[in-house]
């Protein structure tokens, strides 16, 4: 599958991703237009999905709910990842930090075909397109956020902050996987996301997959600016560099320029990931890997209405949700929406039957590599069950009841130790803990493994090694977020934490429980290992 698009224009030696030709960029741009068109159509339309008739107020949904602002950024990244996958055959998992951009992610899994395979009703034709737009954010339809019903997703839109932690957990012990993680500059202000930048200190290129953060600086949150959005490229780059990343900046508002630069940045990031892994897997590296990261600076609500009622919208916070709010009542808004939709030239993207133009369909990766069909997001497929030794190996002799005292968690430590030994050749278990493994009397695990840390050890360290499999970091959010990413991609684990601080990540627990509850109702989602939390008190 390598270099399927073009055999020419290969930059440098060893690169797997050829530079995109102008024709390729033009196609990518049209694919992006298709995704943007379907995003706007989902937010606004209940009829006339192909816009073959003049737009009328009756075609507009009575209640307009959805997030436009982040969507063009998500779709840009998704379309370019498709190309990367076609060029390299990499397995890529897509994590949308701005999960409120549900219509963009749905547009993309629809365009690549996975959506219609899972939901045959929403077929790749006119009738399916009509269902696609009508179901979005409507009663009996689908939520406006990314969630369990979204193919290829392991990350719920809602409470912001956990995208990069989930991505990092998903990459652990998944050596072939690249997790592309879009992070909003608003989400980047949260504590958990700020903590998550430490991933390079914990991701070992020899055994783990890669996380590719794409920090999307569209400059605004719901109604105010973002800190990173106001900072210079140098400042934002320094933030990431200080945490061990090797960032590049792509910025602009002219689509074709950004397409070219982003395709380049993505190709280079991929090559650097593979080089780091090659070196790490060939004993050629020590210390944390300088993983690539992309800082993407594009306008919020890009390609949407520049201004509404004389007030600027594109590139401002006003683009966050529904930029034109009075479409049914205000003919000017209706006309503006129609012009906006037609700016994507839907008649050149879909035929009269609602089928995507063949040259655009061809831009989706091969069947099994489509991000909406990611096996990592699909549950336990391919992951072996956990085998436990007989409990007799660890059980205490009780004798006269309640007459001898013992630390209750110590035998559990021995059990975990043996799980580590048993999974050594097929790693699928990790213990996550904010620096308390010993104090929780689980220290037996250190007979067979260490604390994971890629930073060079100083002489005072105890059981610290780059290939250690006990994940200790003093952030309950990170411990739990990593474990969630790990179990949602089919592996097993335990988060051991002090009960007194359990509330730190309690809202994550609730969000995860809701995910499981919803996922259970979807037959195409396989069961995932449970999220196990050991709360210890003193």
């Amino acid at each position: 599958m390598k270099n399927q698009i073009s055999e020419t224009a290969v930059r440098g030696s060893g690169t797997e991703v050829p530079q995109a030709t102008p024709e390729e960029l033009e196609l990518l741009h049209r694919y992006w237009n298709a995704a943007n068109y379907l995003t706007v159509a989902q937010i606004y339309l209940q009829e006339n999905p192909l816009l073959r008739e003049p737009l009328a107020a009756a075609h507009i949904k009575p209640r307009l709910l959805g997030h436009w602002g982040t969507s063009p950024g998500l779709s840009l990244v998704y379309a370019h990842l498709n190309r990367l996958i076609r060029c390299t055959d990499a397995e890529v998992l897509f994590v949308a930090g701005p999960g409120h951009g549900g219509p963009a992610v749905i547009a993309n899994v629809y365009l690549e075909g996975t959506y219609s395979e899972i939901y045959p009703n929403v077929s790749p034709d006119k009738a399916g397109l009509r269902r696609l737009i009508r179901q979005f954010s409507t009663p009996g339809g689908i939520p406006s956020h990314v969630g369990p019903p979204t193919p290829g997703s392991i990350h719920e839109g809602g409470e912001l902050g956990y995208a990069l932690a989930h991505a990092t957990g998903a990459a652990m012990d998944n050596p072939g996987l690249i997790v592309a993680c879009v992070i909003g500059d608003g989400e980047a202000e949260t504590g958990p996301l700020a903590a998550s930048w430490k991933a390079p200190a914990f991701l070992n290129p020899a055994r783990d997959g890669a996380v590719l953060p794409i920090l999307h600086l569209n400059g605004h949150k719901i109604s105010g600016p973002t800190v990173l959005g106001r900072q210079s490229d140098a400042q934002v780059s320094a933030l990431l560099t200080a945490q061990g990343w090797d960032p590049v900046v792509v910025s602009g508002r002219d689509p074709l320029t950004v397409h070219a630069a982003f395709a380049d940045a993505l190709g280079q990031a991929h090559d650097r990931i593979r080089n780091l892994q090659k070196r790490g897997r060939g004993n050629g590296m020590s210390g944390p890997a300088p993983w690539p990261a992309i800082i993407l600076r594009t306008p919020k609500g890009w390609t949407g209405p520049a201004s509404v009622d004389g007030v600027p919208v594109e590139g401002t916070f006003r683009a966050h949700q529904v930029p034109l709010a009075q479409v049914r009542e205000n003919p000017l808004h209706l006309a503006q929406l129609e012009a906006w939709l037609r700016s994507y030239k839907p008649e050149t993207l879909f035929d009269d039957e609602g089928r995507l133009a063949p040259e655009l369909s061809a831009l989706a990766p091969r069947r099994d590599r489509r991000m909406g069909a990611s096996p990592s997001a699909g549950g336990t497929s391919g992951v072996a069950p956990l085998n436990l030794a007989p409990l007799e190996n660890y059980a205490l002799e009780v004798g006269v009841r309640a007459s001898t005292r013992h630390e209750t968690t110590r035998p559990l430590g021995e059990m975990l130790r043996d799980i580590y030994t048993d999974t050594e050749t097929d790693p699928r278990f990790r213990l996550f803990c904010p620096d308390e493994t010993n104090s929780n009397r689980l220290g037996a695990v250190f007979e067979v493994t260490d604390r994971c840390l890629l930073e060079e050890a100083d002489d005072g360290g105890d059981h610290i090694a780059p290939d250690g499999r006990v994940m200790e970091v003093l952030s309950e959010h990170l411990c739990q977020g990593w474990l969630e990413g790990y179990v949602l991609t089919g592996r097993y684990g335990l988060f051991a934490t002090y009960e007194a601080f359990a509330m730190v990540s309690a809202s994550m627990t609730i969000q995860h429980a809701k995910w499981l509850q919803h996922a259970r109702e979807l037959p195409w989602r396989r069961p995932v290992p449970s999220l196990n939390i050991l709360l210890t008190s003193t």
Partner: protein
Amino acid sequence: MRVYLPPDANTLLAVAEHVLQSHNYVNLLVVDKQSHPQYLTLAEARAHAAAGASIWPWAGNEPEAARKLHAQPDVDDRTPHVERPFDPASRPDPDIVLACAGDVPTEEVLAAAWLLQRQVPSLRVRVVNVLDLLVLPPRDVHPHGLSDTEFDRLFTRDVDVVVAWHGYARAFHQLLHGRHQPERFHVRGYNEQGTTTTPFDMVVLNRMSRYHLVVEALHRVRGQFAGAEALIAHCGQMLRRHDEYIREHLEDLPEIAQWVWTPPEP
């Protein structure tokens, strides 16, 4: 969502074996990392984990026959309950049920049961340990909820139940909502009291110590029992002694710190 409070190491192992291999749940396991008395053999721990909550017959003093009689399940959950006149001799039920959830509360409940049986031998005490917290709500609220028959077999239908548990008392009451006569459950739990003090002082400050539980139990039982007055006085005295002792010695009274269960003489 599953919440387990294993009272000892073997029970923790039995629960861990289950949760680590399970799918699609959030499992919370609550344990104390300090040393605690160990109660169950591995086989018993497995049975206890499978049941979620059980009577610990060795920790109570109900006559074997009474327990057996009561263990016959009702034919039908909907069989109307017939109020029996109070007749201590003929009643199969115990006089009081002591229930516990969590390792520290379990130790206090056992010590309370031990004191009651020694000092008030005519009192019939039952000890129930709740390992899986979500057996408490009715089954239509949570899939682990016990049927009413099973629930009543553990807690009886109308005997008072003194509960010591690891969390907030009101949270326990919330779980009991929908059970028969929930007002007969008298719950002691963590009440945000205590910081850096001795382990036993923590349970004293949260009014969940063995002495508080004994006094509560004797206050709730119906009928007169020889030795009850003296034991209540003893408990008050012990709480005062405890208070003085820890201030002076900065650690718990030896007879409390080193308390172990001894099986009652036959």
